[in-house]
Amino acid sequence: MDDVATGEPLIVLDSVNKWFGPLHVLDDVSLSVGRGEVVVVIGPSGSGKSTLCRTINRLEPINSGTITFDGQKLPAEGKALAKLRSEVGMVFQSFNLFAHKTILENVTLGPVKVRKEKPAAARERGLALLDRVGIANQADKFPAQLSGGQQQRAAIARALAMQPKAMLFDEPTSALDPEMVGEVLDVMTSLARDGMTMVVVTHEMGFARHAANRVIFMADGKLVEDAAPAEFFANPRSERAKDFLSKILTH
């Protein structure tokens, strides 16, 4: 998977800074993600990796620096921001499915309300997406009736229904029971294989090894390392990364 498409990068962060009160949660972070590239962000908790992920569709505003998506600077708010968000899929740790809507309605809501697609067409495409993530038979159930793994796959289908240019994953498997992690990672791996541009915040080192083009290591709000997975896991350059890897890989 080294034949990543070149050309103008899809996502560019330039000297991004963000504070939560006195906490410097993103410290001069610069990063660019090419089209079709899969970037995995790892690091200890509190390192700012989730915040980094959330700034890309401006769920978290930033204090300074610039973020560019597909050649366009992120709009501050309003219709332009809503349009940008519709082009960036997001998958959350806690699934965040709409509790009062069925699984299929969760998937078709965006296409119908944002893209103004015909309900019948959206439904057909929604069912195909649910089939792709392996839960077509759950279409008419409500989120609370599904297992965590199924809910997360539904959430991925909901994001894909918008036909996004990139997908952001904010610790997508951290809230799952261990036996359900695999089914979600399988869906993500197949997405990566199909050429989706992805930014994935995760603790799944296996996924980072086999599906990522690049691994970003963050600590204390700083982007500490940016390397190919094989290189990063074999020869981490920084002490922080060595320390982090020694803690998670010895078990």
Binding site: R85, G89, F92, N96, A99, G110, K113
Partner: protein, 224 residues
């Protein structure tokens, strides 16, 4: 019961409660619409709207209703000349509806806002993340779920509104408490029966209302 066997008194009694029901109905609609709008302002990303909503709630929730109703009559009508009907009583009625709606909307707003807080913020984030606007997020995702947890408090607000409607009597509408006072003035020998009839009528209207809202709240409770 000789008081109510006089058809003139009985008619006054009936029409007084009709006024109460009309005041309650119209003000409930007004307060609901206004209250939801205010709640939307209070959770909106626009600071000016948030400030407006907060100011409304703090002003009207902390002003005695009697003062609000007096202001509608002496301020809006007498001083500013706002006349809402040629008919004397209808004019007072509509002034009363304005006062009751503005006042009750403050309580509706806070009930809706607490209902909004029961909807996990992640769902609103997910809605924004697929490109829904703020208004769409509120209308399609947040409010339908908030509504379910707001029904029980709405029952209490409606009951309070119905009883508060008697205050419109102070600006001259012949609603229940004014009629009761008149009947007592002319029938000093039957004070307690008169009082019990009026109080009993309120109870007969409001107790089922309370049970109805309790039943509705249970039926629509969110399953998580």
């Amino acid at each position: 019961m000789h008081v109510f066997s006089d058809p003139k008194n009985f008619d006054a009694f009936l029409s007084s409660f009709l006024w109460i029901l009309k005041l309650t109905g119209a003000s409930a609609v007004g307060a609901l619409v206004l209250g939801v709008l205010l709640a939307a302002m209070r959770v909106s990303p626009v600071p000016v709207l948030r400030g407006f909503g907060a100011a409304w709630v703090n002003i009207f929730r902390n002003t005695p209703l009697t003062l609000v109703i007096f202001f509608c009559y002496f301020g809006l009508f007498v001083t500013l000349g706002l006349s809402l009907s040629q008919d004397l009583f209808l004019n007072i009625y509509w002034l009363g509806v304005i006062g009751l709606s503005t006042y009750t909307a403050a309580f509706v707003c806070e009930a809706v806002r607490s209902g909004i807080n029961t909807v996990p913020t992640g769902q609103a984030e997910a809605a924004r993340a697929i490109g829904l606007t703020f208004a769409q997020t509120l209308r399609i995702v947040v409010l339908p779920q908030a509504a379910r947890s707001v029904i029980a408090p709405f029952g209490s607000i409606l009951i309070a509104l119905c009883k508060n409607a008697t205050i419109v009597g102070t600006i001259g509408l012949m609603e229940s408490s004014s009629v009761m006072k008149d009947l007592i003035n002319f029938n000093g020998d039957a004070v307690i029966p008169i009082f019990l009839v009026f109080a009993g009528t309120f109870a007969a209207i409001l107790i089922p209302t309370g049970y109805f809202f309790g039943w509705l709240a249970n039926r629509l409770a969110v399953k998580r």
